[in-house]
Symmetry: D2
Subunit: 474 residues, 4 copies
């Protein structure tokens, strides 16, 4: 298992292809690298052993769990737990699950495709993942195509590149063209795992393609935006002051992929299944990270309520119970999804489809309301808090501190830090990104509906109704 | 394991002490006995083997699971599954879980009390439950005291009997006085298990009492109300036509209880724990029966949508997804509660407190909305459906049938039965009882909040917030 | 203005054509007649003068406002106020607004049709309404066709009668055939006003028909179901004990209508407008009666909270504020709808479309939640309350009374009456009817969406967005 | 009526006492001045005549309505309309209502205080407002004290200055000390109107003080934070690019106020009334500006739905209907509040308390959900949109534009501008400020509950319940 500094070294050596703010950035300058670093640091802490670490089913070695292919119920339970702990430690998205979720999906689908088509994707995949684990690689998943006109299928777009596709098949590999949107933390990934975004028809084989490329492969261009927490003076800074995250529009401008890195190419029926399966693994990860966001919201609400002396008030307690209920419904269903997981022919465990989706859907539907709850308890100050420059100013600092004082026993610095954190967490561009991510990440609410309705046995429920109504089915 | 007719024979032989509508009823006439009969019938079906049956940890015999003391995770999972299947088969409350939930709670607490006080309750309990299992007994749980003035504690009431209490201690047993409200299906139980309803103080030992008496013990009086589905002509009847359920105010008018049936008497600190623990086991049962209610609502919604030709419409599909989400969040968390159960000193498995409570709370909070969803899809007809007498009337029957016709391929009788079922299920006094039961049964929403907040580690969440805010705790 | 006994006399003399429970009923036996009687009684009370009474714009006489054609903003404000007072006085639907809402719609549309087609409907209408006002007639509105297969238009049904239509045009009148569903209180109306239910095309002129017939006209058959409050002993009875309401499937089995009672016949474009306009006037009435239902729910919640000693608790106060907010948002918007009403060419005032619809929609969406709130505050007793027979029984009455006692200063009879009322109001078949009526009456939620989206100027809102975004429209 | 440039000149001449980011700013540099400028510009547009202008009841001159004391129902209706138009024109808070809302409250209370105490506040007020109108002054309202320990009253705080108070009474005026929080747009106001924040007791007369001071009066210090929309290249800029708003902690460090500017000093019972009354007028303003926010959200949702080709989908239409319903319920109730306003002894019209409060409460409760709706329709792009620098970059600009293309007929620039606007509006620090302002501005949700419950006649509703239950009140 690598250490954070080794990862940072590796980042620095990558070819610069990250475009942001009119510049080409070295990856070590990209906001969010501290989060990836944490995924290394956390794995080395003794108390996280077995949670942030796993045993490779290939090498038998101890590996970072963010590189693991789940072999058991316990693997899925631990992945969920790791995600919750990790996310609330870094104060948001833990950034490294997308890659491994995609690889688990590939593990299942490459095997199934081989069984159906006599292809050899699974062996390629095993070779790839063995290396990935050995190097403790950071991967991301590029799934969502830019999609152009939403009412048209890939092949019917004015520009066929609006869904990423194979433009050339060569003896040594393929050439791909297209762009993937909403590619969180892509500039900080060493490997980009690419999967299709939707079901594909017989005549859409060119779009049924999955592969992995180094983040700085020739022709890959990452167009990036970032959000950052406000930078504050050290004496008033929170853990995340000045830190941030990044989002990429990842462009594949005729990128060559050698065959050993191609995991699907033309088997259209498995394109859709791969899309669904990545979503499934990723929604299971959300049953870990969304409760972590709620942990942060609830802990912050409880803290500011304590500082304001309203912690025992009925309406505050009722709101805390709401936070707990949301967090634990989602987490509990994620656990049920692990317990009800099934072993696929590849040996990889697949979590339960319905539990993952209802949990993810519920988390997404509650999120804005949870921000509302915290804002309600916090009052207006997160939106009007004076800056650190005034808190410490020779001219007005003393007055500012005089007037921000609350109850005895809590220092005005702690009051300030608490509100500064709430401002950063809930009244900032970072808050906006977290809200959008919480709503759409891993699939918009309507996508969970589709997954649920496509899986669930509604007919058996109608049969219950018919029996009770005394109706004998024709 | 008994059969339903044996149970009915046993009921008939009980001393009549059921007061309803100005009469004293024989128990075999009390609405709801078909539901209890179903708990016997279902246990004899081959497909339910291992679900509705269990192996006694005392005798090693196969027993009806409604008599089982849970020894394993699997026992709790099966109990939950049995409850869901049972409830949706009988079209509502399965009626037999209250008794066994109380007995499981007693199993835990009698042991703990013995360990603390050198009492011998657990042995008494084991003797009692052995017999209970052998006889395949139907029990109910009388917990909720009538409580008088809600702002006063038991000992402070104008009338101390407003919480059930010991009024006499004798060498051969005790005499108790008081009344228990909301005692569902009590007239159909052969045994009444009595537990305290709240935490009790040092000076409230007389109220810290738990015991079991036969339903027709001297001094026990059941004051009963019932709700029934409308009776319909056989050719238009649903499964539940004419059937119903019953609720009892169970009065203990100086009832003698021999010591071998006394399971707590004066150890006040265990009174409250017993109350909480019955609630816990019962809320776990709700994670089975509430999804069953949702199964019925969703199946009915899907059926009437099919009959109306709107099954594929977006808003209908979105509502079906809502039903599924509610059902499976609750059921999934109930499963997590079983998987995370812990073995108590008595050997009895105790499901997880937080998962049981958040699941029960969520189910209760969604219930009225679910009725709203079904009513929305069904349209106004459940409230305005002509009677069977007019549907079949020589004078207007032909016209009524002409005008109730919907789409081709569905007979007007099936249309009628479908709407008659919806009327009975959602627009009737039975619907009212199910709504109240779904909201308050096993504890009102606020009780779950109290249980959750009393159990959950909010401080560790505040610590997360402090770390992120950069606050070092004093 | 008539008195209630005159109305009852008139009912008794009508030809019996009311089919219920296998019998043909005399109208004086039909549940709900007390409600119609109240509409007469209330108009004679001095404190209701000007609210329940109006001045006819035709005769200049004082008339019952339930016969009035609105001439001013004040007329609409008073109608709304009358409806709120009336509904909460009779404990539910005031039953007489449907007829007058239909007549106001006819007043507008007959004029507009005459202007477009040189027809003479408006004069006929004026002659009809003048008589209607003079006789203080009770009318109802039969609008909703039974509709058969929902995916087919009227003319495409297997049976063309599934939407009511003209089957014969004669020199002295027309013959109509069909059936109208959900025809609340129709058996208690002396006149049935019939309007189309939807927009109609050029080739659907036969379905574009509006007219009035006496409730007992030849060929009219009312197939009725009723719901009633439980009958209780006089000493424990509430105001509505034993009273109820009725719903009719009203069949027109080749009914002849003389021309002077025909108000639309073949002008298809006005068929849809008439449907919309009746809905508009009726939704405005709902801005009066829905707040009345909330008044009842909130008053009951406050009363039972008082009796339970929890009136000052935070969560109760917060729920009361919710009730108030719902009631007054709906009522306030109904007032705005009156203030923003416009005078149509007929002189009749038409309330604002958007305000009526958003208010009705909001009321419908909140209703089940409001029942939830009351049930939450009331606890489980409404579903388990012993019967009056046991409350007064020589054998157990004393015990029942002992154990239903609550706080000092409230008699056990008042406790009982309060819970008996809650049981009747919220846990009964009447409750089911009120819930369905509150959701679907005057148009299901989706119909308000359609009305709102069809009326509202969304384009101007998009223009606001474009301006802010810096987009110059092509 | 002044023009914007005159106002800007006046700002520039004010003494610099605005502290932000470690600097002392000249007011002309403070973000948000464009919004105040708009309040002048809009009043000069012919189409706004009578809406943004009014006739002074003192001078008879045409004045900017933001300086008007409401004399009629129409004044209140026009104020509401002006607020809605203004807010959606400037893309958020219109910034100038706080001052005039406070002045209207003072108009009422100074008169009532004079009547009770023979004081001469109202004449002082009239002199002040006459000048205010003549000069077309921009005022703000400083109400919310910093409050220290929330569980202690003003006089019981460790530091009595935590509520602003009179520290010295002199022959020529008073000296005040304290600080007011959440003082929106204060640095851009020429006059600061100060009112108490809560009910005050007999022994809290020093805190019962109201007055006006110039924004740059000696001892006044504005500690300011600001939020700004992202600055974008002119060719991709929206209307608000680079613009923002500001919030002040306004400190009164022993500020002298001459008597002619003191409007309350020691009459404690009117302190609380003044607090309530400012809230009332301000909540009425919210019934204008909150619908404006919804106009923006709904227009933006409809626009992005159009660009994505999903405008006709059921779920989008249903969401648009939700926006409309929220906007018009709030606006309609605000209108009802104007129509039901009453004339106070001062001649000033006071809007209806209940309608204002339920409308404001509803708006506040829906706000986060409305952001949720828009984010749902918009998809994830607002959180991941590439910067303008990359959109136009020589290296990747062409590719970015290729991959942001959507349906034919909409230029990629317009797509970009649309999403850039959504990002600024909903995924930014400005969005956070708008969310907090929408929740807490004019009073937190719980404050509306208190206002509603303090005003509403719940007893009459209990009487309705008693009558229906058959209970005769003792």
């Amino acid at each position: 298992m690598r250490h954070a500094d080794e990862y940072m070294e590796s980042l620095k050596e990558m070819v610069p292809n990250v475009y942001m703010g009119g510049e080409v950035l070295n990856r070590s300058e990209v906001p969010g690298n501290d989060i990836l670093c944490a995924t290394f640091d956390l794995a080395h802490l003794p108390e996280n052993d077995g949670i942030f670490t796993a045993t490779s089913h290939l090498s038998g070695e101890k590996i970072n769990r963010f590189c693991n292919i789940h072999q058991s119920v316990d693997d899925l339970l631990k992945k969920q737990e790791m995600t919750r702990i990790g996310a609330r430690t870094v104060g948001g998205c833990i950034a490294r699950c997308m890659g491994i979720d995609a690889l688990n999906a590939l593990s299942v689908i490459t095997k199934q495709c081989d069984m159906a088509h006599n292809t050899e994707y699974h062996d390629r995949f095993l070779a790839y993942i063995e290396n990935f684990q050995k190097n403790d690689t950071v991967g991301c998943c590029a799934q969502t195509d830019v999609k152009g006109d939403r009412s048209l299928r890939p092949g019917d777009q004015a520009d066929p590149d609006l869904y990423l596709r194979v433009v050339e098949r060569r003896s040594d590999g393929i050439v791909v063209r297209g762009a993937k949107a909403h590619n969180s933390f892509a500039p900080l990934a060493e490997e980009i795992i690419v999967t299709p975004t939707r079901f594909l028809r017989e005549n859409e084989k060119d779009w049924a393609v999955a592969f992995a490329v180094p983040g700085d492969a020739k022709g890959v261009k990452l167009v990036v935006r970032a959000a950052k927490h406000r930078d504050r003076m050290p004496e008033l800074a929170g853990l995340l002051s000045g830190k941030g995250e990044c989002e990429s529009l990842t462009i594949f401008d005729d990128v060559f992929v050698p065959w050993e890195r191609v995991f699907l190419c033309g088997e259209n029926e498995f394109g859709g299944q791969l899309a669904v399966l990545f979503a499934l693994f990723h929604r299971h990860s959300y049953t870990g990270c969304k409760p972590a966001i709620t942990d942060m919201l609830m802990g912050t609400a409880a803290l500011v309520a304590e500082y304001s002396g309203i912690e025992r008030e009925d309406h505050v307690r009722s709101k805390l119970a709401e936070f707990i209920t949301t967090a634990e419904l989602v987490y509990g269903c994620g656990q049920a999804a692990a317990y009800k997981s099934v072993k696929t022919p590849s040996g990889t465990m697949m979590p339960d489809m319905v539990y993952c989706n209802v949990a993810r859907k519920h988390a997404g539907e509650c999120l804005f309301h949870e921000y509302n709850l915290l804002a309600d308890i916090a009052g207006g100050l997160p939106a009007t808090l004076p800056y650190d420059t005034e808190f410490t100013s020779p001219e007005v600092g003393e007055l500012v501190q005089k007037y921000l004082k609350r109850k005895d026993g809590v220092s005005v610095e702690d009051i300030y830090k608490c509100y500064a954190w709430i401002a950063d967490f809930t009244c900032s561009s970072m808050a906006g990104v977290l809200q959008y991510a919480g709503l759409h990440g891993g699939g918009s609410p309507i996508m969970e509906d589709i997954a649920i309705l496509g899986t669930y046995d509604i007919e058996s429920k109608k049969e219950i109704a018919r029996k009770l109504a005394g109706i004998t089915k024709k």
